[in-house]
Point group: C4
């Protein structure tokens, strides 16, 4: 089974998610700059969510590049990830329109937590499908970044009912941590290419 | 005629269908969790429809992987399937907003029935185009799952006017039946690969 | 310059056009079947426009399959076609909501006319780019279907202000004429494949 | 790392941006042509923005065709460009609905300026990733067109608060300047093909 269609479908869904989020930025009725100022919180959540979808696309791209076999379980683990990411526009809109109020901020963290858990599951499913010499396994290693983000989101959810701005700060911090591109997979792929040029098949 | 563009176009349409359904989940005006609770029926229908589109994408992916020839009839049978699936967001929204009332639940079943019939037609058209040694034909066999789902939907439609919750239960059951990945095609493809490695061309 | 990205981008735009048209089918507030009945004209225009976008996708698919060279002019002629097709959801919505009133029916014909003219231009641009041995040129021949549709749309526009239902009948007739797949290009491609198997390169 | 998925994802996002802009053209309630006339300013901004997205797609297509290496920085520079372009539907809607008033016209220029700056950054990042023999570098040369557009947008923004119609004229002029396809990259690619046919590898 080839992975091209899996990538194409995921690209399509991610491209639509990233673009329909901007529909929450509703064209204001006034024509002066103050009408724009009122949209600032919605705009800020849009930027945050855009960056998150960008991070997922980026990591998904790297992970699938290193993937060798697509099993039926991988197809469904991938759809499961896309499901949670498809709720991001809703969570973004609710948080933005309510100026980072408690419940919306907690829900946003909940969606991030479920998406991160779904990504970890997809990663695991790919490693199982690829078997012993899985490149993804080697690349991911202890997956420290993945575990730290899960903790960040899990802490931010209850905290949103006490200090919502700290929850938002945690979401921003986790995003910044991921913005640094995942060099682990690039490194391992580099090693593979080096090996295969030594022992050409 | 190559099948890449058929797959790409179908992926595009399915990706958009799966994502615009989430637009029915309208951002609530209140900022507390009770505002969210009222969205529960809409959310549940979204989950159901997401799973259905996922199943169609999955089976479509497998079927086209085993397809050898794309005729003009296959192109139109595919568009016919996409047409019925494109009505799923509408049917989903109507059923969700009316909390599984009779007419919306019947319509949902109608769309599922027409989509399933269109899928069967597409399957048949591909088998005809591929001719005698059609891999899809061998893989589909008696198509028991396909026939059972058609019966489920056909029964659920009139039933929706008497016991709508049983209709919903039938939709969920049919989805669960399909969630088990279609191993038939994977098995036959495996056999082909085994054969071709024995008699290389 | 490769034609893959041109096809991918066109597929994306056509897939979105075909899917956002369904957003005009707004979820009704009532929960009985009579609420559905009121949507019938909107549904009928949706079916018509779905078929039209399907025809364009189909013919575009065939034409680009037979295309050899993509010039800068071809890129822009293609975008020009996509521009007019992107107005189809608007024209569809206006005609459907006003139950085939005069001005909306005329506008619908205007969009069809411009899209057909843009398709003819794209066809011509591809023939020029491919030069003397253009397969598309051989396949298109006298382009009788293309010319007949242009006449149908041009007649339907003024007629909409007198007998709008005849205009609608003309749109349906032109669509039916195209639904028969374009065997001309398939035939010429078949000849090419036959030739190249005689004189293998 | 292969560039196919980068192109596919960008195509998806650009296709959606170009198509959701048309959603701002809301179906009017009246059924006569005067209802259409009121939409003229919205339609004109739609045409302008369609042309701009078309230009970006076209240049992006050419630039990536000449690109050899995709680094992590290129992925993010590309997402950064897509971010600014994703704000175009919003800016288009605001300018169209307010009939080219000062603040919306300035914002439109601001989005164009940021997108143009992001394109320049992407170009630079690709040149850095490709290293000394970068084809993109040779093709871009002094990038006169790019610099002139940046000046046009930068001048148009403050001008919008004094003479908004001149700002609009500047946006149209910059678009016309780009409509002429970027022959520089085609020329350099032609040279490369000529070279490689002389010294085949």
């Amino acid at each position: 089974m080839n992975k091209n269609r899996l990538e194409a479908f995921s690209d399509g869904v991610l491209a639509i998610i990233i673009t329909i989020m901007v529909l929450e930025l509703k064209v204001p009725h006034g024509e002066d700059l103050s009408a724009l100022a009122r949209l600032l919180p919605v705009f800020m959540t849009y930027v945050l969510s855009f960056v998150y979808v960008g991070i997922y696309w980026n990591n998904h791209h790297h992970m699938l590049h290193a993937t060798r076999r697509i099993s039926g379980a991988v197809l469904w683990a991938n759809l499961h990830l896309l499901f949670w990411l498809s709720l991001l526009p809703f969570a973004t809109g609710w948080m933005g329109e309510n100026h980072f109020a408690s419940a919306p901020t907690a829900l946003y963290g909940g969606v991030l937590l479920m998406a991160a858990a779904a990504y970890t599951t997809l990663q695991h499913t790919i490693i199982v499908a690829d078997g012993r010499e899985s490149l993804v396994k080697r690349a991911v290693g202890a997956d420290r970044k993945g575990k730290v983000s899960l903790v960040f989101y899990a802490v931010a959810i209850p905290l949103a009912f006490v200090l919502p701005w700290i929850s938002s700060a945690l979401y921003v911090s986790a995003a910044l941590m991921w913005l640094i591109p995942d060099r682990r997979i690039e490194r391992v792929l580099g090693e593979r290419d080096a090996e295969s040029s030594e022992h050409p098949t």
